[in-house]
């Protein structure tokens, strides 16, 4: 699953470690989510969305949506 987490984080000048601390997870979790190696649990996705004041679908994009946008 693709996501805008690196962009949102950069806008706020937050490090991965700081974001991890705010979310109560390890820095490696944030890194794995940003790199697309790990899809967060729904509770964590809600937490991320609440932290950035956005909806989950504004942050996370399914692969097919990503492909669809590329094809369009």
């Amino acid at each position: 699953m693709k996501n805008n987490l690196p962009v949102l984080r950069a806008e706020r000048r937050w490090s991965q470690a700081l974001l991890a601390e705010k979310l109560g997870v390890s820095r490696q979790t944030v890194n794995a989510i940003e790199k697309g190696r790990y899809d967060p649990s729904l509770p964590l996705a809600f937490k991320i969305a609440a932290l950035f004041g956005l909806a989950i679908e504004d942050i996370f994009l399914p692969e097919e949506v990503e492909h669809g946008r590329r094809d369009a």
Binding site: V25, S26, Q28, T29, L42, P43
Partner: protein, 185 residues
């Protein structure tokens, strides 16, 4: 959402320490060492079942929270070495060294698997959802390696049943610990 989350708290360490102290005072170092080996095997069997449960039903997606001695998570530095889990691990380390010295060489594997619990942030390994998922995935490989070691040990070494089970569980856990450390690099 929160109501659907299930939490299993495995806070057995203080009870274990008390039990071992009683056995040590009552029956001596030999009995206390074997008791610690039994406790090691029992706790790791429960841990293996919990990891299997996460892998089969939770998949590391946050439905299951496993917490080991949650109170100690906040402790850092030298004080963290005094947490019950670290004391239990140190005592079991001593017991396995004792059993290895008595000729039960397969206890070298439990000895290796216990090293991780002496580190200050050991509990963080199971508190993080990404690491939990990595551990659940590594469990399949750990199980296969444990069976392979068990077969080799039966053929070439003829171990005691407890020694064999402890060694197989240790290989299983070492594989999972290795995967968790790799994820945390």
């Amino acid at each position: 959402m929160a109501a659907e989350m299930r939490e299993r708290s495995l806070d057995l360490t203080l009870a274990v320490l008390l039990l071992i102290i009683v056995i040590g005072l009552w029956r001596g170092a030999d009995a206390a060492s074997w008791a610690l080996a039994w406790v090691y095997t029992l706790i790791n069997t429960l841990a293996a079942l919990a990891i299997g449960y996460i892998g089969a039903f939770g998949g590391g997606d946050g439905d299951v929270e496993i917490t080991l001695d949650k109170k100690s998570l906040a402790r850092r530095g030298f004080a963290s070495l005094l947490r019950p889990l670290a004391i239990w691990a140190l005592l079991t380390l001593l017991a396995t060294i004792y059993l290895v010295a008595r000729g039960h060489i397969l206890f070298m594997l439990p000895l290796a698997s216990l090293m991780v619990f002496v580190f200050p942030d050991a509990e963080d390994l199971v508190a993080d959802e990404y690491v939990r998922q990595v551990m659940a995935k590594a469990a399949a490989l750990g199980g296969s390696l444990a069976f392979a070691l068990g077969l080799l040990a039966i053929v070439f070494y003829k171990p005691l049943p407890l020694e064999l089970l402890a060694a197989m569980l240790a290989v299983y856990l070492i594989t999972i610990e290795w995967a968790a450390f790799r994820a945390l690099r």
